[in-house]
């Protein structure tokens, strides 16, 4: 009886501590990624004389490339367990979900393995993004506030 009570209290304490630590880690990691993104944009702007739009496109492609490569090499999962939302919420998480689900089902063949499982997790993001964008776009269009 005493033990279970003690464990309960210990669990509560541990969990709350972990939550604070988790959120700080996520803040720092997410902030670092944002900083890196803006840094890459400014670097491309000044040294390659690209416009801001072009360089932000390149920046997103660079991030997707790095995230897919790290996932395929197998150490992105370890980073995700450490930094959690700091890596899952930026576009790296999108690339990670696609690469990891297609890697997991690789042995089932190119069609039923890679092809049908690639969008297993990323599909929900695209689905709800498109549906909500269509809905809000229609509302905005019908209200007539374009421009």
């Amino acid at each position: 009886m005493k033990n279970t009570k003690y464990e309960k209290i210990a669990d509560k304490h541990k969990a709350s501590e972990d939550r604070v630590k988790n959120s700080i880690v996520a803040f720092l990691c997410g902030g670092f990624i944002g900083l890196l993104g803006e840094g890459i944009i400014e670097f491309l702007c000044t040294y390659f004389h690209l416009s801001r739009n072009e360089s932000s496109t390149f920046m997103i492609v660079i991030f997707i490339f790095i995230a897919s490569l790290c996932t395929a090499l197998g150490f992105f999962d370890k980073l995700v367990t450490k930094f959690k939302c700091g890596l899952l919420i930026p576009i790296t998480g999108f690339a990670h979900s696609m690469t990891s689900s297609s890697m997991d089902y690789k042995r089932e063949g190119p069609i039923y393995g890679i092809g049908s499982n690639m969008f297993k997790l990323a599909g929900s993001v695209i689905l709800y993004g498109v549906v909500s964008a269509w809905l809000f776009g229609m509302i905005r269009y019908l209200i007539g506030g374009l421009g």
Binding site: S23, F27, G30, G34, G37, I60, G93, F94, I114, Y141
Partner: protein, 116 residues
């Protein structure tokens, strides 16, 4: 200044989603979907454009910007094409991200062997 803003904004979104993840039963899939819808909602009245102006690259990286670019392209096309433009322009801006993600993940899946 943009660098500092990027740090704060991107970190803030990640922190909020981490807090939601820890304190509820939602999975990361739920949270990313919610954030995409939130991004689309914010841009339907051009709030997200203002955020991008003040924050810079940090606002383009979180998944909220995916919803923002979906609706941004749709509305831009709707201005010239009418109602059908919402469907035509939906993927105008996000096409690079989605195509790059598909191509890279396919190539890396073919090249590398899964570890377990």
């Amino acid at each position: 200044m943009l660098l500092f803003n990027s740090f704060l904004f991107c970190g803030f979104i990640c922190m909020i989603s981490q807090i939601i993840l820890d304190n509820s039963k939602l999975t990361p899939g739920h949270i990313t979907s919610i954030l995409v819808v939130l991004g689309a909602f914010l841009d339907s009245f051009s709030i997200y454009d203002e955020i991008i102006k003040t924050v810079g690259g940090g606002a383009l990286l979180p998944i909220t910007s995916f919803g923002h670019s979906l609706i941004h392209g749709a509305l831009a096309k709707a201005e010239s094409m009418g109602m059908i433009g919402i469907l035509m322009g939906m993927f105008d801006l996000t096409a690079t991200g989605i195509s790059a993600a598909i191509i890279f993940s396919f190539l890396f899946t073919l090249i590398f062997k899964p570890k377990n």
